[in-house]
């Protein structure tokens, strides 16, 4: 068969035994693709993969050698933050560690002046435990509907996070 474009291009049937040419070329490309895939795969598999299971064995030692971000417990904070510690110890939040609200603070304990923990004065902090949602049943933890309860106003305007229950005197010491 010939497709000719006026004078310029003329393509004819090639000589020899070219009829399976297309299949042959595709075959070569497919084989090449598989070979490339196998090679790339070999390069991409991490060295220690499968040492213990279907994961990177080294990740265990890597994680073990990381420094702990959290300090031991609230007691570590008490040495320097007497006031908060005492307040918390008597309040409903007594079971909560300081770092639940202030974030990991191991660095702060060793070098208080250099890094300071997070102080999150947002309704989101309290809502993450106290917002009423399906699946958080009353009784385990007291829940409120933030919009109805405070109009979404920041909870620390009225509650002291370290001593959250409001007394009739309404103080926020």
């Amino acid at each position: 068969m010939i497709f000719d474009r006026g004078d310029k291009v003329t393509i004819r049937q090639e000589d020899g035994n070219p009829s399976a040419q297309a299949v042959f070329r595709i075959g070569v490309i497919l084989v090449l693709a598989v070979v490339i895939f196998v090679i790339v795969r070999q390069m991409m598999i991490p060295a220690s993969f499968g040492q213990y299971g279907r994961y990177r064995g080294n990740s265990i030692s890597e994680n073990a050698s990381l420094n702990a971000a959290y300090a031991g417990s609230s007691n570590d904070c008490g040495e320097c933050h007497q006031q908060e510690f005492m307040a918390l110890a008597q309040a409903q939040h007594r079971e909560i560690d300081c770092q639940s609200c202030h974030g990991p603070a191991a660095k702060h304990v060793s070098k208080p002046a250099v890094t300071s923990p997070i102080v999150q004065e947002t309704a989101e902090l309290c809502n993450s435990c106290h917002r009423q949602i399906a699946g958080r049943q009353d009784g385990k933890i007291v829940t409120v509907r933030p919009l109805l309860h405070s109009g979404g106003v920041n909870c620390t305007r009225c509650h002291n996070p370290h001593r959250p229950q409001l007394s009739f005197e309404g103080d926020k010491s």
């Binding site: 297309a22 070329r25 595709i26 279907r54």
Partner: protein, 426 residues
Amino acid sequence: MGYVFPNELEINWGLFIVLYPYLTGLVAGAFIVSSLYHVFRISSLKPVSRLALIAALAVLLVAPMTLISHLGQPLRALNMLWTPSPTSAMAGFGYIYSFYLIIVLLEIWFMYRKDLVKFAAIKDGWTGKFYNLLTLGAKDVSEKALHIDHKVVGILAIIGIPSAAFLHGYVGFIFGAIKANPWWSTPLMPVIFLLSAIVSGIALLIVIFEVTCWIRRVKIDFECMMAMNKYLWVFLILAFVLEILEIIFIGYEGKEEWPAIKGLIFEVIPVTFFGVQIAGMVLAFFLLLASRKKNISQFAARIMTFVSGGAILLSVLAMRFNVVIGGQLVSKSLVGYTKFHIPIWEEGIIPTLIFLVLPFVLMTIMVKLLPPWLDEEPLAAVTVKRRRDFQAARGIEGEGAAEEIPTLWGRAASTLVFGKIFKEVE
């Protein structure tokens, strides 16, 4: 509503995971239509056999985008290819998908090889070079070579049918194998997914075929349309029966999960379940049935087939939604339901719409590059000037030889303005 566990508040598989089985389903269905022609020699489907493959490829390219966007960490998707777990159904995806993609690409290539060689010869400049590259240098278009091409296409289509069934059945398998979820956990799931996939694929082709014929202003191949109409109807019955059977079965068994599922379909998702999924199928069933009555005009039959196609496309989308989202709404406690809030951006409605439109954009581009029309003189795809030169060189003269070919938009506009819709009928 009711009692749900705290970790069920968030619906983890959102709209993208709804789209994924929908899109792969369209692929599988479209592919099966082309195979009906290539393998089972149903010649009335010839006019859409190429279009079906182009459509399948366009949708196939978009399908994994939804999954990868859902991951949030796209590059991690590759880890599954590097270190797949042999016992994970999910991990098979990358391999099954790639295999199928290769089959479709090869089938298209062999089918178009003759045209590619032709285009490489008659187009100038970069387009010519581009087609030249696409031929991979295999420019032999002798009778013998074309015969081999034809055979290869047949073989690929045969391999393709189980692959397509596997690609989509596997999606159903993943849902069906989750034993903790009563709405999903049934061995029927892969079969249901497969049948609804075939149904949606045929519906997609009906819609595309009708629309493209309208845009190209050619007379639609009525016989082909009615053949698709017939297959849609047959597969629709199967799909419908299985989907209903599953629910009746759970209801009749009446195990402890039935009240939860009953509540789900009657109270939580009644609109998408009865209003779209079931109603769409029932509507299509009767329209298709009526459209084949003797006393119905061709025009009416076409409209009815087209509407059924649209209804099925919506119905199957709703079905994917009801399965994927519905399954996550039922609490493991079996006495409560979570709420699904459709987000706007993140895995939300806007990217979802983009993913639904994207296959059609790709399709338009591919159809421009590789015209699938069998009714058109292949030269129409060439620029007017080239065609003139070509005809002059070959000494073809005649009426309208060098007539301007109106652009797609020009045609659409003139059709709208002059109300020439369905002009070619009668």
